[in-house]
Every structure is written in structure tokens, then in C-alpha cells.
């Protein structure tokens, strides 16, 4: 039974597990890496983890709201990616470094 669950047909829990793993990878990456671009990519990972959870739950409950949410998330992520990369470029022009630690002086 467990095996069937594990290796047989895909169930909701697989998708949620994938989503949880992806989110954790993203979170750990965000906390451990110092490179701004990598940190940004990690936030994208966390985004997509949430997206997978949404789609899976939507499919499971036969509710299309999950997919609608994902469309929104993708749109926002695209816009935010452009913005964040532009910010990274601007920061790099000011100080030729991508290390997040170098920007501590931005605090109040």
C-alpha cells in the first residue's frame, strides 16, 4: 500500500512534497548564499513552490481558482523579476560587487 502510494499513481501528497522540498531549497538558498542574483533566484524558487501547491490543490478539489492564482503569480513574478534584476544592475553600477553584505549601510 505504502509502495503503491509511493510509486504507483501520483497522489496529491507527492505534489505537496515536491512543493515543500522546492520551498525549502529556495529558503535555505536564500539564507545561505551571499550573491544577490542567486538570492533572487531562490525567491523565484519559493514562488514556484507555492505555485505548484496551488495547481495541485486546485486539481485535487476540481477548482480552477488554483490555476487562476498561478497565472497571477507568474505575472507578478515576471514583473518583479524585471524590477529586481534592474535593481541589481543599478546596485552593481554603484559598487562593483554582488555581495549582499556590502549593502549593510542601507539601514536607517
Amino acid at each position: 500500500m505504502m509502495l503503491a502510494v509511493a510509486f504507483g499513481q501520483l497522489a496529491l501528497v507527492h505534489y505537496l512534497l515536491l512543493s515543500g522540498v522546492l520551498f525549502t531549497v529556495g529558503l535555505v538558498g536564500f539564507l545561505c548564499r551571499r550573491n544577490l542574483i542567486v538570492m533572487f533566484l531562490c525567491t523565484e524558487l519559493m514562488f514556484q513552490a507555492a505555485g505548484i501547491a496551488f495547481v495541485a490543490a486546485g486539481r485535487y478539489y476540481f477548482d480552477f481558482s488554483g490555476q487562476v492564482f498561478v497565472i497571477f503569480i507568474l505575472t507578478v513574478a515576471a514583473a518583479e523579476a524585471a524590477l529586481a534584476l534592474a535593481l541589481v544592475v543599478l546596485l552593481y553600477r554603484r559598487r562593483p560587487s554582488l555581495n549582499a553584505e556590502d549593502w549593510r549601510d542601507l539601514r536607517e
Partner: protein, 748 residues
Amino acid sequence: MILTSCFNSMIMAAVGDGLPETLPVKMDEVRVATEHWWAGFILYMPLISLALCGLCAAMKVKSKLPAWITTGSLLTSFIFSLLLYFDYSGTPELIPILSWINLDWEGGSFAANFTFYIDSLSLLWVMFVTGLGTLIAFYASEYMETDLGKGYTRFFSGVSVFLFAMVALVLGDNLLMLYLGWEGVGFASYWLIGYYYQRPAAVAAAKKAFIMNRIGDLGLALAIYLIWATFGTIQYDELMTVVADGSWKAGYEGWAIDLIPWFLMLAAFGKSAQIPLYVWLPDAMEGPTPVSALIHAATMVTAGIYLVARTYEFFLLAPESLHVLAWIGGLTALLAATIGMAQYDIKRIMAYSTVSQLGYMFLGLGVLSTYGAAYHVFTHAFFKAALFLTCGTIMHGFAGQLDLRKLSGLLKIPGWRITSIAMLIGCLCLAGFPFTSGYFSKDAILAEAFITQGPGFEALGWIAVFTAFLTAYYTFRVWFRVCLGKVEYEPGDDDHGGDDHGDDHGHGHGHGEGFHPHAPRFAMNFVMAAIAIGALVAAVPYFMPNHADEKLAGGWVADMVHDSTARGGLPGLDRHGVPLSEFDAHHADGHHDDHGHAHHTLFGMDAHTAMYVISGVVGSLGIILAAWLHLFRREDADRLRAALMSRWWIAWLPRAMEHKWYVDEFYLALIRTPLWISSHVMYAFDRYIIDGVLVDGIARIPRMIAKWFQPLHNGILHSYAVTMAGGVALIVLLMILFLQFWNVGGAG
């Protein structure tokens, strides 16, 4: 619009029943004279001049152009006033200029338009206002030349504003337009007193004048509200009709009538510098001298007299207000004269004499001598303008020197003859020397004070006579000191009293040797001579025949009030403007009017004749005393002062006079100090209770809370991320635990 010139119903009220409904007196009609539309230019010209002066300022004109613009515009105004006078038929006219406010509703209406009300009173005022304005603007073109390119344009703009407001005040046909002009002249006065705005004294004087005038303005505003509420209109012609036919009495409650004259008096006392609001006028001498001559001697300060003359019917409705008017006027005359005696600054002496003469005018109004008051306004405008302009010339020529102890023998210095003689003429008129204009106009008031019956009016008359003596003394104290005697002078320590001047004149203005006074040139000499001659000629109208009514004494001058609101105080008419003879014919049984005119004698002579003798003698005595103390034996004056000062029982008198009776100090202690203290108490309350406890105290609470979390905000991105992730994890954990617990509970 029918204007009943007699106030029938008022006589009904005053005398009682048994009168016929109508009295056989001349009925004046107010006619609408649209053919005199060009009279509007009297008002427009100063406004055009202001606009052009503004243009000059914008284009940074450095020439005398603004002076010529102003002089030319005012001359045009004056010519239009003259045309209007010669075209005036003797019937009051309304000339519509612009429509402004016209409201109508059920049970009432309110109308206030730019319409001129032309009667002899407004004509008299507008003629001397625009005429003197022209001359003084011409004088100022030379006087102010040291300010060319600096304040020159500003000065002439101020003069234009003043003339515009003054013309609106005098010619308007309703109280609102009068109020507009009233505020306008107050503002122009503030503008021009503070002309030397770098000098703290001038700024303080400007503020003082403005604040004192505001107190009066409050009275005027309240009076206008009450008049409208009681009579339902603020237009002069309708007011006179309503007051005359008594229709206002329907639904009248019975206190407004007694209050209106008091508010009007407050307004007049503020503008015309009477007790208790007179203290601003002497300080207003901080302004340039042409301004003192035009605004603070000849024209603006007579606006109070005009107001009372214009609203005289309200004073007649509450006669006790006339007694107060007379007493305040008489006491102000005396007080100001005693202060003027003890001052050394000649311009200040002239300022106090202005206050004193304005007191005479109010005395005249109070004792029902409206024509005397109007005539004194007229003659005073000339001789006081002449005196101020000569003072200004001296100030101009002697680098701001105004101390009469440091000037002497002006007549003998070449180039100063016209100044000295113009000053002599002004002094003679002011002193009431026989057969000068001031002599006749002052007599018209003094004699009436003895003729008219009122509370203590005879004592008041003697006070006024004594004041005339003092006036003659202090006037000639100035002239004998400054113009006669040994040629001796010291220059003043500043130039023109503040405007920097020396650069464009070759000579240095240091003390002692090397100083040469610069004599007036054409414009100043011409204007001084013209105004001095005007002051002499102003005696003639008293003897010109009047074509209004042969029964009126006082010639042309009486003519100039006979068809106006102020006719209530003409001799030969009773106090409601009804000719006495006609009245007596119809009421042979006797008419007892406590304040009417009885034929009165003084020392067995007709009161007017007696007064000619008395005031002539008194004036001459004053001049002789001044000649003794200040011309022939000047050392006696110092000895007299020392003698007075060394005796304790009399020393307070000269000391108090020199210190202006400590009135400023009294106001300081009574009004300014309490205000200062209360303002500081309130400041402390605001600073420490409101700001300190309430505002800052409340703000401190979130600040303290924020202090606990401050360390989290360290600028390290990862620590934020960890905090956030930890927080989220914590929340999720709590939620899971809670859900489990809830599920268990739900299952249970």
C-alpha cells in the same frame, strides 16, 4: 427718492404732541444725476496713477516720472471736483458709478453701490482733499528726490492709494463705501508711516497707528450693523428719509438708537486722534513729512469729523452723545496743547497741535456748530499743511534737525525767506491772530460753545479759550525760536530722519563746521507759498455771500453744510434743520429745546462779537508771552523752567507735560504689560503642557516600544530573512498545534 430735509417726526418726539403733521420748510429732493457720470474720474484718477506707478516700479524707473504721474492725476481729480462744484445746483445728487451689492428678499433689502452722494459737504471735502493732494504730491517730488530709484515709486503709489480711498470715503453714498474708504486710508496711512521700514521707530509707529485705528474701525463696523438693523438701509438719502418720517419706529426695541452714536464716536476718535485713541498721531510723524502734512494733518484725520457730520442725525436722536462729543473734543484740545507746549521737536509740536485742533472740531460738532467744525477743517487743512511742509523743508535742509533749541534765525539765512514767511502765516492762522482764517473758524466754534446750552458748556467754552491762549503760545514759541533771533544752527545727526541722503549732495553732513543747509528749490517753495496764500485766502469764504438762505450766518461755509446731513447745527436753524423763524411762526406757544440756539450774550455783547474780542486778545497775549520767552529774553525761558522744576509743589506739571502726561506709559501698564504677561503665561502653557506633556508625552510611548525592536534593524539582509523565516515557521508551528488541538477538541 424724496429727502425731507426737516425731521418732522423727530420734532414730534422732542417737543411732544400738538404739532401739525408737516412743517412749512423747504423740501430738498435728491436727484439722480447721470449726466455727471464724469465725476467717476475723481475716483479713477488716483487708481490709474497707482497702476502707472506700479508699472514704473516694474520697469525700474529711476526718474521723477512717478511724481509727475501722481501730481497730474491728482490735478485731474481736482479739476473734475471743481467742475462738479460749479455744476452743482444746490440739490443733493446721486451719481451712479458702478453697481456692487444689490440684494432683495422678502421683508428687506440691502444695497451698497459705488454711487456718489454729492452734496455741499462732500464737495467741500473732495475739493480740499484733491487740491491739497495735488500740491503736496508736487512738493514731495522734490522732497523725496533723495530716494529716487529706491522708495520714490513706493511713496507715490502710497499717496495714490490714499487719495483713492479718501475720495471713496468722502463721495460714497452709503456707509459701506465709507467703510471701504475708511479702511483704505488706514491702510495707506500704515503704508506711508512705515515708509522708512529699516527704522524700528517707524515700523513701531506704523503698527501703533494701525492698531489704534483698528479699535476705531470696530466701532464703525458695529455702528453700520446697528444702523442697518434699525433703519433697514445704509444709504444716506434713504436713511435721512427713514429717520425723518419715523417709519423705523415700527418694531423698534429701544436701545440701538442710544448705542449707534457711541460706536460712531469710537470710530471718529480713532481716525481723528481724540482721547483715548490719540496717541498714534504724534508717533505717526515718523513717516516722510509730506505724508504728515497730507494724511496726518490735512485730510485723513478729518475723516472722523466727516463721519460725524455725515451721520449727524443719529447724534441728534441721542443728544447726550453730543455732550460727550463736545467734552471729549474740548479736553483733547487742552491736553494736546499742554503737551505741545513742552516738546522740543517741531514736527511733534505740530502733531500735538493737530490733535488739539481736531479736538476743537469735535467741540464744534458737539455744540451744534457744524459749520464751524467744517470751516475749521477747511482752514486747518491749509495752515497745518503749510506748517508741516515748512517743518519738512527745515528737516530736508538741516539734515533732519527738528529740535527748536538747535535752530535759530532762519529768516536771515539766504534762500529760507519763503519758508519762514509761510511758517509765519501758518503760525498766525493756528494762533488765531485777528483777521486770519484760523481766527474766524475758531471763533465760529468758541462762540457756539457759549451760546449752546448743555452740561457745563460754558466751562467748556472757557477751557477752549484757555487752549486758544496756549495754542498761540506754543505756535509762536516755534516760530520765534526757529525763524528769528541770532543765526545759529546745528545739523541733525541723520538725513531726512532716516533716508540716506548725503551721497548725491556734494557736502558732507557731519556736525559743526562744513555744514551748509540746502535751501528749498522751486517745487517746495512754490507749494509752500501756494498753501500759505491759500491759508490766508481761506478767511474770505466766511464773508462771501451765501445763496442758500439769507438767514444763515457764516457765508459760503454755512452754505457748504446747509443742504447736507450736517445742517442740524447751523445757526438760524434749529437742531433738526428747521429754520427757527418759520418754526416759531407756527409754534408761538413756545418750543423748549434744551439744546437749541437761544440768542445769547456774553459780557453784554452778541456772543460772536464778544468772542472776536476775547480770542483776539487771548491769541495776542499768547504771542506776546512767546515773544518774551523765546525771542527777546530766551534765557528767561530757561530760568522759568529751572524755577518751576526746583519747587516740588509745581515741578510735576512741566515734568508731566514733557512726558506727555505719561499716557503712553499708562497704556503700557494698563494694556501692553498685562497682554505681555498673559501671552508669556500662555506660551509657557503651550510649550510645556500641550507640547511637552500631551504631544511629546504620547509620542514617547511608541518610541519606547520601538526601542526594544531596534536591534533587529541591523541592515544585514540575511538576518532579516532569518527573522522572517523563523517568524513564519513559528506561526505555522503554532497553527498546526492549534489545529491539532482544535481537531482533537472537535473530535472529542
